[in-house]
Structure formats: C-alpha cells, structure tokens
C-alpha cells in the first residue's frame, strides 16, 4: 500500500453515519476517536498521540508513556506515512498538526481513503481537544502557583505556633516534597556542635545525615541535575538521579539542610530541578529556620527550667537534712552556718546531743557539687544517724560510714569529715579527722592549735582506718571546724581568704560569742571576696566550752 497525500473527503456524510455513534459515546475523546478509526478502517489497533509542549504523548483511557525513540520522525511529515506495518496520519487543523493517528494493519484500497477522510475530520476534533487540554493545564499550573503561595503563607502561620521540633520538621519536609513534585526528601537539623539533632526522610534518604557537618551549600541552594554520583554541596547523595539542596540558616548559623530529589513527571521521567524550584525551597527553608530556632530556644528553656526545678527540689531536701535549730547543750555554746554556692551544695554539718550530756558534731565536705553531691550528703546523713547508736568508738563509726558509702555511693565519690565528741563536763574532746581541713582550736588565751587529719577521706580507699585523737577543751576554748569554701574563698585577684585570716578573726574575737564570731567570719569573707562569685560551699561550725 502506498498512500498519497490526505485527500479531500467525498463522502463525509456517509462516514459520519458509521462512526457518529461511537464518537458521541462515553469515554475520553481520544479513546472515542481511536475506536471510530478502528470501525471506519478495519485496522487491528489504533493509537492517538498528542503534541504536548515539546513532546509527544500517547493518550486514551489515561495518559501513557511517550512513543518509542525514533518512532515519530523529525521533522514531522505533513503527509501520511507507513512505518513498521503502521499507517501514521497527521491530525491537522488550521495549518497545525495537533496529533497523530497510528493504525495497525489497515486493509488496502478503500480503507486507506477512509483513513485519509478520518484524518481530516479528526484533525479539528483533536485540535479542539488539545486546546481544551492546554487550557486545563494552564489552569492547573495557575492553581499550582496559587497553592505554592498559600502554602508559604500557611507554613508561616502554622510554624509560628509550632514548638514541637519533630512536628515542625515533618510539616516543612512534607510541604517541600509536595510542592516540588519530588519523589523523596530529607531534612536534617544539627546542633551548633555539628551533631545531628533530628533527621527525617520521606520516600528514601537523599543525603547522609552524617555529612551535614561538611556541607558547603551556596546562597539560594544548589541544583544537581547531573548523575547522583556527583557530590552535592560536599555531601554524598543516596540513590537519586537529580537533587536540590538548600541550607536552613539563621544569619551565619547553619541549622540544617533541606534536600529533595527526583522531580516527577506524569509520564514517569525524572525532571530537572529549576531555579524556580530552588527559590521555592529556599523560601520554605527561610520560613522553617526562624520557626526551628524558636522551637530550639523553647526546648532549651524548658530543659533549663526542668534542671532548676530538680535543683530546687534537691536543695529543699538538703535543707531538711541540715539542722534548723541548734541543740541547747549545757556547758556549750554553739554557732553554725552553711552557704551553698549553687542551689544544692556538697557541705554537710550536724549536731547530735547524746546521753550523759555529751555532744557529737561533724562537718563534712563532699567531692563535687549539685545533685550528685547532695545525694551523697543524704547518704552520709542517713549512715550517721543509723550507725551512731551502734558504733562502739568514733573510728568504728567512721569505718561504718565509709563501708556504707563504698556500698551505696557512686564510684569516685569521696568526702572529708571531721567528727567530734565532746563531754562538756570534763572538756574531753575525742575526734577523728578524715582528710578534713585542720580544725582550729582557739584557746582562751587566744592561741591557735591546728587539729590535723587522723586518716584519709572516706570513700577513697577500700580498707582504710582512722585513728582517734583526744584533747581537753578548757572553759573559754573554742573549736572552729570549717570547709575549704571558707578559707579558699577568692577575691578579684584570685587570692585566697586563707587560714591566717580565719585564725586572726578567732584570736581577735576573744570574748565574743560563737554566734557573733560566726557572723564576723562570714562578714569578713564576704568583704574579702566582694562581688566575686564563689564556686565552693562555705560551712562553719563553732563550739565553745563555757
């Protein structure tokens, strides 16, 4: 068969009678046109192709893929042609080819003439159909742009009130993927340290979260429409063909990366990302950056508040542990004060009146500060109160406390302790100093004696032992037990208050009551340090034999 140019119809009325029912039936117009062509020509198969933008697409029940490569010749013939057993007919109207009708196995002779008449008739129909599609597509595009604007607006609104970082990340990622028609997307947020704070992917990972520390995304994002093996912005790409990445930044601070990949088309091809896509995604990233920063600050504030609440609770517990009222023991005058440098400190003192008018007292300094130190203080407090009635001697008591600590306290925690037992009637003082700062005994004549440690700190060695020392306090003698927060208080020049200043205050305070002396010491330490913040707790216990 060798068809000539499309000839003018000579019996259109007759043709219309045969196919009018099919053309006016149900279904999409291309399908009806193809069915009518089959009916009119007796061909075994009929396919319609439409020219859409720069490509040919198969149409029918639904949009299909493109024609086989090379199937449609370039330039397009203005006349019908035969290729691979198919008769191809251009469907033209108003001097423009709008579509192609491909017929398989058209019988020779009259059918070819029918096909030529069909092409003439269908040219206008397909042209109108194509125009309608173009109008519809343009309307769709317009709506899609409107959707982008609405989405940017909505994103700003919803992110403004969104303090949940995870939900916020989802919102940004979902909208980014949706509006760029990407097949997949990844959002990675990082800490200032570079550590990954949050990672989300939909449809598969685009970038490796671990790589965000080494990124180098330019302003406005980076499009990579080349092979996926080409690193983008210093990051390795996962399995994707084309990608677009933008930075989520606040000023110079890089908060994260937003990446989308593999822009879809209706016919299954992966499209190039465009500068318009990059602009849209950058706008999303900018909206997200402000919201993410707000959410992060909010989360940080909540965490800080939680820690402060815990510290306050621990401080309350510790304040319950420290004695509120000093005991009234005949023959003894007492003063004591504790100033924690944080809400919860590591100093502990206690006074326990015992039988026969005796007075037990102790000052302890736990290593570390904050909640862990407070917990250890609590442990020591419990151990002292549990064991004091059971212990036979002071070294026995200290050993019991030590064993208790070794068993229940965290590793690498230790404390210094001064434990004294005074018999006011005789003035006999027995004591153990477990690595504690030398206590100062101010005699009535003003001289100072230092009571040195009689063993190592508690919790330090598994089988330590402590010796008991004994002395006699005469009437007017005053014992000063303190923690190093007092003697090591720093001034602006980082000089320490020192043992000498404390000793001088005790000596010069002869005749003053322990309460007055205690006040003098803290006033003096305060004046010395002025406004310099101190980092160690300060505890002072004064016991005078009267």
């Amino acid at each position: 068969m060798s068809p000539g140019p499309i000839s003018s119809p000579t019996s259109l009325d007759e043709l219309w009678k045969r196919i009018g029912g099919v053309l006016g039936g149900e279904g999409a117009l291309p399908t009806r046109v193809a069915e009518a062509a089959l009916l009119a020509t007796g061909a075994r198969d009929a396919t319609i192709y439409l020219k859409e933008k720069d490509a040919w697409i198969r149409v029918g029940e639904k949009l299909g893929g493109p024609p086989q490569p090379g199937e449609i010749p370039e330039p397009l013939p203005e006349r019908a042609w035969i290729s691979d057993g198919h008769l191809w007919l251009p469907l033209a109207a108003e001097g423009e080819i709008h579509g192609l009708l491909k017929l398989l196995d058209v019988p020779e002779g009259e059918a070819t003439e029918q096909a030529a008449m069909l092409a003439f008739l269908f040219g206008s129909l397909v042209g109108a159909y194509r125009l309608a599609r173009q109008v519809r597509d343009a309307e769709f595009e317009l709506k899609a742009r409107l959707l982008e604007l609405e989405s940017l607006y909505d994103l700003g609104l919803s992110l403004g009130g969104q303090l949940d970082l995870s939900a916020l990340a989802d919102e940004v990622l979902f909208r980014s993927i949706s509006l760029t028609d990407a097949g997949k997307g990844t959002l990675v947020l990082r800490e200032d340290s570079g550590a990954v704070l949050l990672e989300r992917s939909v449809g598969g990972e685009v970038i490796a979260a671990a790589d965000v520390a080494g990124w180098s995304i330019p302003e406005g994002g980076e499009i990579n429409n080349a092979a996926a093996s080409v690193p983008t912005a210093g990051m390795r790409l996962s399995t994707c063909e084309k990608c677009l990445v933008v930075a989520i930044s606040v000023g110079e601070r890089r908060l994260g990366v937003l990446a989308v990949a593999d822009k879809e088309s209706r016919d299954g091809r992966v499209l190039d990302f465009t500068p318009t896509d990059a602009r849209l995604l950058s706008l999303f990233a900018n909206q997200a950056a402000a919201a993410i920063e707000t959410a992060r600050l909010h989360r940080s504030a909540i965490e800080k508040e939680r820690i402060e609440r815990e510290l306050e609770l621990a401080a309350t517990i510790q304040q319950q542990i420290l004695p509120h009222d000093l005991p009234d023991v005949p023959g003894v005058a007492i003063a004591a004060r504790n100033i924690p440098t944080r809400q919860v400190g590591g100093d502990y003192f206690d006074l326990l009146p015992l039988s026969n008018g005796r007075l037990a007292f102790l000052v302890a300094d736990v290593s570390g500060k904050g909640v862990p130190a407070a917990l250890l203080v609590s442990t020591v407090h419990a151990a002292v109160h549990l064991q004091i009635e059971e212990a036979k001697t002071i070294p026995d008591l200290v050993s019991r406390i030590d064993r208790h600590l070794q068993r229940y306290a965290a590793a690498r925690k230790f404390l210094t302790l001064f434990f004294g037992l005074l018999e006011p009637g005789t003035g006999r003082l027995r004591y153990v100093s477990a690595g504690h700062n030398p206590a100062l005994l101010r005699r009535a004549d003003g001289t100072i004696e230092q009571l040195r440690a009689t063993g190592v700190p508690l919790g330090m060695l598994p089988s330590a032992s402590w010796k008991e020392a004994t002395l006699t306090m005469e009437r007017g003698d005053l014992l000063c037990v303190y923690t190093d927060g007092v003697t090591e208080a720093l001034d602006a020049a980082e000089k320490e208050f020192g043992l000498e200043r404390l000793s001088a205050l005790l000596t010069g305070g002869a005749g003053k009551s322990p309460v007055e002396l205690c006040r003098d010491v803290f006033d003096s330490v305060g004046s010395f340090a002025h406004d310099v913040p101190q980092y160690d707790d300060q505890t002072l216990l004064l016991v005078e034999r009267t």
Partner: protein
C-alpha cells in the same frame, strides 16, 4: 508513612472504599487509578477515597486524581474523599478537586453522603 503508596479497596454494594497509605505521587496515583478503574469497569457507582494514612500529595498525584474524577463523571458516578489532613484538604480545594467531588471528615460521613438521594 510508607515510602511507596499502598492502596487497598473493599466493595460494599455499588460503593467502593479505597484506602491509601503513603505518598500520593505518580506511583501512588497510578495505584489508585488502577484500583478505581477496575471497580468502575465492574459497575461500581461511587468511590470513596479514604486518605487517613496519607500526608503528602503532589501535583502529579492530583492530576491523576482529576483523571479518575473525570472517568467517574463520564460514567455518571460519584467520587468522595474523606479523612484528609488540613493541608491536603486545602490543596484539593485550591486545585479544584472539591468542585466536583465532596470532601467528608470521616468515612462514615462519606458513605452516607454517596448514598442515592431518595425522592
């Protein structure tokens, strides 16, 4: 949410409920269309698309849903959506899907909505 969209359906009389789980993109849209066309060709009158487990729809997915809607309308049928996220709800309204298909909050509402109106 699944990486690929999973689609399932159940026919109740002449109404078909289609559930989606995942991203309605080209692949997801094709799955929905395939499921819908099978039921329409078998005489289903109404389709209810339950998108409870879908949080993203792109423009390709929307264009396929429009094709499904056109096919339903060609057959003088009814299409309804239900359980949409607020974002997808707004997207459908802007893109014109809501012009010819009703959107219902729940599946039960949608099933009631697609019932033939008695005279």
């Amino acid at each position: 949410m699944s990486e690929t969209c999973k689609v399932s359906s159940e026919r109740r009389g002449d109404v078909v409920i289609i559930w989606t789980d995942g991203y309605i993109n080209n692949q997801g849209g094709e799955e929905i269309a395939r499921e819908a066309y099978v039921h329409l060709d078998q005489g289903a009158r109404a389709l209810v698309l339950n998108l409870e487990k879908t949080r993203i729809v792109n423009s390709i997915g929307i264009s396929i849903l429009i094709e499904v809607l056109e096919k339903v309308m060609d057959k003088k049928g009814v299409l309804a959506f239900c359980a949409l996220t607020p974002t997808i709800d707004k997207t459908f309204r802007i893109m014109g899907l809501a012009q010819y298909a009703e959107i219902y909050p729940t599946q039960e509402d949608a099933l009631r909505g697609v019932e033939p109106q008695s005279a």
